[in-house]
Amino acid sequence: MKGTIILLALFFLSESKGVINWLQNHLLLCPFKQTLGIDCPGCGIQRSILELVQGNFIASFKLYPATLPIITLFIFTIVHLKFDFKNGAFFIKMLYIGITLIIVINYIYKIFTHQLI
């Protein structure tokens, strides 16, 4: 089990971009975009995560601004459930509200700047 994890980490950290290249060619298709040809509020998160794995923070922010907060929310929730911080629940609530605001504002911004298609 540990060996596979170390191998995976080496695979991601190594210079060969085999995994990332494979992922870029096998992204899941959004059903909303498939039927109508318009972006849904969640479109762009996979591309943005791939950019983040490669280390391009600005590109990932431009593709989908809520990626980093969502990842921090996940990690913080896991750590909070394990160690039980004093104000952890409040912090999770605020992060969640912030993420929803970012998603909604990003979508409205996309509508007004004609980036949906």
């Binding site: 509020p41 479109c43 969502i70 609530k93 969640y96 929803t100 998603i103």
Partner: protein, 144 residues
């Protein structure tokens, strides 16, 4: 053989049953029994489901509704439990529960909005195509 050996042991006078109180966590030190407190049964589940509900908000809005509703129902049960006996459960788990409830409510609203948005867009596409019969025929030919 073994049963016969065991039976006399079972027939031995059992220890007198201790008086069991209705409350399994009797209030000590003026209602603050810190040693006896336990966390609410569904607090972490509610928190995780509430957070997951936002992840699935893009998939037609239906997939995200399921965890949000489950989280709301579970949190209602646990809140009732806590209000029945506040000293028996830890305060941090109650805070977790409330955070999960808020997350589930926000996720529910967002999912319903996205579902409505999807329906409105489909209606707009449908009326737009139906008002133009030539385009409709082209579309049907394209689909074949």
């Amino acid at each position: 053989m073994s049963e016969e050996q065991l039976e006399p042991q079972e027939n031995q006078p059992q220890p007198t049953p201790q008086p069991t109180s209705q409350n399994p966590f009797p209030p000590q030190n003026g209602g603050f029994g810190y040693g006896m407190q336990q966390s609410l049964p569904n607090a972490t589940v509610v928190l995780v489901l509430g957070i997951l509900s936002i992840v699935f908000c893009c998939c037609y809005g239906i997939l995200g509704l399921i965890p949000a509703i489950i989280a709301l129902v579970l949190s209602k049960k646990d809140r009732a439990l806590y209000e029945m006996n506040p000293t028996a459960y830890t305060l941090s788990s109650y805070k977790n529960l409330n955070a999960g409830r808020v997350c589930a409510i926000i996720g529910l609203i967002l999912n319903i909005l996205s579902l409505l948005y999807f329906v409105v867009i489909i209606i707009m596409f449908g009326t737009g195509i139906l008002s133009d019969p030539q385009k409709l025929q082209e579309m049907l030919k394209g689909m074949q």
